[in-house]
Amino acid sequence: MIELRDVHKRLGGRQILDGLTLTVPEGMNFVLMGPSGTGKSVTLRHVIGILKPDQGSVRVDGQEVPAMDRAQLMALRKRMGYLFQNGALINWLTVAENVALPLREHGRLPRAETDDRVHEVLRLVGMDHAAHQYPPSISGGMRLRTGLARALVTKPEYVLYDEPNAGLDPIISQQIHELIVEVRDKVGVTGLVVTHSRACATFCGDRIGILEQGRLAVEGTVAELAHSDHPLARAFLGGDAD
């Protein structure tokens, strides 16, 4: 379970998070929405320990993330996957090498098993045909799918998705949404999804929270928010949204 309690964070002279409290129950996808610049990606970075809060508590499975030393943080990160907005692939490695990177760096598996695992997740995201291509020669959607494969290759318990369908066409977007649901249902992965997309939120989310001015303005299930009168819920999930 991921828990944030009264988290405050100031960056570049701006108060980004201002008392954010949220809970992501195990085995669920929690979707975080909100206007740009309200701290959605910053929230993800607190969960994985790239950023430390100025005040407040960030816990994963009861362990306080900001208090972790380097070894504990590395152990936590090995249990987590993170999908960056643009995939964040290493340009001089092929698609397959990018996906294999976390396995190779930590020497978890013999080479043959690593290769099998890499091709298994590449097939899952529909990228096995491009395994030997380099990131600059593939499309944005393919980079994102490769990033997702890399996030899943270590069989993480948690995956943090940062705008998993940004800039993608509706067909590829839907494939990504289906993958997010599939890894929750088949593998039991707990997900925290940051998105602006109503389609993504309603398809992938078990619960949805909408951020405003650094804290959750409204939270509930998809059905609850779809019928909510809250202006932000209507703006992000109402009939005119997306």
Binding site: I50, K78, A88, I90, L101, E105, G147
Partner: protein
């Protein structure tokens, strides 16, 4: 904000940057045991650094040697003592000019490219991606670059020295009437007078080049890793990398010379 607060802020930022560079170097040295895992990448880096900077280093070294011989020769001719031209050119190239020229060119070509590469990786979240995969960016990105330049800078300096002395010999022969035999004999005697296998002038110069290579790579990687704010931030990181590298080359060059020739004799 008053002038003292501004000055204080400026100094704090400089101290913070310097501390980051030193910390990065210490962490890179601490990761040296991981070098065998990064050997292929390190060799690629070293090869690229050598190939990318070799032509321009050779051209600049040849002309630097030629200018050195010309300027010195003009004065020596007045005293009829052009026979020592080889000595002066060889000693100047090996002690100072060779490492300095090589360092500055490596800072401009390879250092700038390192800062741009790492800066782009930083602003496009690739460095963060390594961190969330529990891959240490210092071990994965910085160590191979520092080792590559620490090796390549002395190697290129050897070539710079030779080409620079050759440039001087051409000017000595054609403009100052010093025969190549006399020039090279004078250069050889200057460099072998100590009777040791590796004369002090050469090893101090090569040590300087090693220090320059390490400093250029560390400063450039640090600039890249601290880049922020998209393309503009990457541009500023490249600018800072080249500027700080050149300043360090001059300051460290002075310190090494002072250490070997004045402190330890």
């Amino acid at each position: 904000m008053n002038v003292f607060a501004k000055l204080g802020g400026f100094l704090l930022a400089r101290v913070d940057s310097a501390g980051y560079v030193v910390d990065l170097l210490v962490r890179a040295i601490g990761s040296l045991h991981r070098l065998p895992r990064r050997l292929r990448f390190t060799l690629d880096m070293a090869f690229n650094a050598g190939v990318r900077s070799l032509p321009v280093t050779m051209v600049v070294a040849a002309f630097a040697g030629a200018i050195l011989a010309m300027q010195t020769g003009i004065e020596l001719r007045r005293f009829g003592d052009t026979a020592v031209l080889g000595t002066i050119t060889a000693l100047s190239m090996c002690r100072e000019m060779g490492p300095f020229i090589t360092g500055v060119i490596l800072a401009a070509t390879v250092g700038s490219s390192m800062a741009a590469e790492l800066g782009t990786m930083q602003v496009s979240d690739e460095v963060s991606a390594l961190e969330v995969m529990s891959v240490d960016p210092v071990d994965y990105l910085v160590l191979p670059r520092v080792v590559a330049l620490a090796i390549m800078c002395p190697l290129l300096t050897v070539l710079s020295n030779l080409v620079g002395i050759y440039g001087g010999s051409v000017i000595a022969e054609h403009n100052l009437g010093v025969s190549p035999d006399l020039f090279w004999q004078s250069a050889r005697e200057a460099l072998t007078s100590s009777g040791t296998l590796l004369p002090k002038e050469v090893y101090v110069g090569l040590f300087k080049a090693f220090v320059f290579g390490t400093a250029i790579a560390t400063v450039s990687c640090a600039s890249g890793l601290r880049a922020s704010g998209g393309a503009l931030g990457v541009g500023l990181a490249v600018q800072a990398a080249v500027r700080n590298s050149v300043i360090l080359i001059i300051v460290l060059g002075f310190i090494v010379t002072w250490f070997f020739y004045f402190l330890t004799g």
